[in-house]
């Protein structure tokens, strides 16, 4: 084996040693079928202000020493500033590194004792194994991709990347390439999920949702392709297309005498804050006769910043254009309640997790009730998401003036199907 450099801080091996290990001389990686675990610690430097400027380094050292005690014959490598890779050649059974990942996560739940200071570290873990991949570098990238997915899901999460699953690293590249075409050729299309008003006893609006039917990979869920669209700058043309599509829907509604039927669209924080956002919207408003239409933008709660002047003023401008604003997935984010006072919001969409089993889950019922009380006090309208059973529905009906959305009333439908229902 070649000689490799060693990481100065931790004394661990580095990337080149990892590649050598994975790509055993003379044999393809698939005959060795290694597993790779990619772990990234969440910003240890955030403790530097409080505990001194080398705190992140001490954390990394502490962390790497602790992990080493859990290892047997795996290769442990420092690959980035805050990231490490653990690789195992020929695991005795597949998924062995998942067990190790569980141990690491358990260890992270214990506070780290750094010279008397107790710190709680968090990390994200991705695992990939080689069945058909032919290079060590690809395998590592795939594990990194899984780690990033874990990071999006929360803290101390583990994501195992299944090569044949729909969303491997290779698939992501393919989707990125196909996305511009899909926006144009109708592979990405729109469905509407009706919103039912208890007081009016009818559907008073609908949420418009994007779907992608990929010709080879099949149905790609929005939680996969929307982040890709954001990453590649395709979210703006997708938003434009959505607005143009909705303008056509309003024309259909108007012909049926349903002028007050409201449509809600998801708006990502990134699109909202984009320099050209307001100009784009104004253009489409004028060109496609979208003015004065009852349109709501839904913003996911966990993307809302705690307080940000530019964000608030953007929301004000959107309101001035005549749109309503809703907080989506309310109750799942980590923002302070203060934003409800400061941001010009019209609707709270209470997350489905609070509606689930509300007829027998006492805690959900109490939380839901307190959200309704708060919304009432603040003059906000409420939409309950994810109503799926009659039992849930009968409890929600007691809250009177709310709007409900869910499979019990209406599943997401193509435009014509929704219009037929109204």
């Amino acid at each position: 084996m070649r000689k490799h450099e060693v990481d100065a801080l931790t004394g661990l091996a580095t990337y080149s040693a990892l590649l050598d290990y994975l790509e055993e001389e003379g044999s393809e990686i698939r005959t060795v079928s290694p597993e790779v675990l990619y772990i990234e610690i969440d910003e240890p430097a955030r403790f530097n202000d409080a505990f001194g400027y080398d705190t992140d380094k001490r954390i990394l050292l502490y962390f790497s020493e602790n992990i080493s005690t859990l290892l047997e014959d795996e290769l442990f490598v420092r690959i980035g500033v805050y990231s490490f890779v653990i690789a195992k050649k020929k695991p005795s059974r597949p998924g062995e590194l998942k067990l190790l990942a569980d141990k690491i996560v358990n260890q992270l739940r214990e506070p780290m004792n750094l010279e008397g200071n107790l710190l709680y570290m968090t990390a994200s873990i991705g695992i990939a194994s080689s069945v058909s991949l032919n290079s060590g570098a690809t395998l590592v990238r795939q594990a990194e991709y899984a780690m990033k997915k874990a990071k999006r899901e929360g803290t101390n999460r583990i994501v195992v990347c299944h090569e044949n699953g729909a969303f491997s690293f290779e698939h992501e590249l393919k989707l990125l390439r196909d996305l511009p075409k899909a926006i144009e050729n109708g592979e990405i299309y729109f469905v509407y999920q009706g919103q039912y008003s208890y007081t009016e006893k009818t559907f008073t609006g609908a949420e418009m949702l994007a779907r992608w039917e990929h010709p080879e990979l099949g149905n790609i869920p929005p939680n996969i392709f929307i982040p890709l669209a954001e990453k590649s700058g395709m979210i703006t043309p997708l938003m434009n297309k959505t607005l143009i599509e909705v303008s056509k829907m309003y024309r259909e509604l108007e012909q049926r005498g349903l002028q007050s039927f409201s449509i809600a669209l998801n708006l990502s924080f990134q699109v909202l804050m984009e320099e050209s956002f307001l100009d784009n919207v104004r253009f489409i408003l004028d060109a496609y006769a979208l003015k004065e239409r009852p349109l709501t933008f839904e913003i996911m709660e966990d993307t809302i910043p705690d307080h940000l002047e530019s964000f608030t003023s953007r929301l004000d401008e959107v309101k001035r254009l005549g749109f309503s604003l809703a907080v989506d997935d309310y109750g799942t984010g980590h923002t302070s309640l203060r934003y409800l006072l400061h941001f010009p919001i019209d609707y709270l969409k209470i997350d489905r997790s609070f509606v689930h089993n509300i007829h027998r889950d006492r805690r959900n019922f109490l939380l839901f009730k307190s959200m309704i009380d708060m919304a009432d006090a603040l003059g906000l309208k409420v939409i309950a998401e994810g109503v799926e059973t009659r039992e849930e529905d009968s409890v929600l009906q007691r809250f009177g003036e709310i709007i409900v959305q869910g499979y019990l009333y209406c599943k997401p439908l193509r435009q014509e199907a929704l219009l037929a229902l109204l």
Binding site: E184, N185, L238, N280, F283
Partner: protein
Amino acid sequence: MEKKILIVDDVRFNIEFETKLIENIIEETGISMKVDEAHTIEEALKVIDDKNIYDAMIIDMNLPDGSGVEIAKYAREKSSKTRLAALTIYPNEYEKERGYFDLFMKKPIMIGPFKQNFLRLLQIG
């Protein structure tokens, strides 16, 4: 003088979107323009024959009956003054054909860049 524009695209959504953007430019600049449309190479060659000379064309490269380059070649033979823009998702795939066009425009169409490129195509501003 009224500018004559030809848009060649098989996707109705694109033609409508481009036309509305051009209408917006007309409003902003006060320059009068007339927009014709064609959906295939065959249609495009026919309108080029029928309608004398266009000031500018925006040609989608991927048409049902072939490549937009055919239209560019034909338009160039008719008049060296017509300004030609190619519209494509993958501009890199047309390196060899660059010479036939004055400008490459990227799809999906973005509002700001389209307006800017269109003015460049007409050599305005």
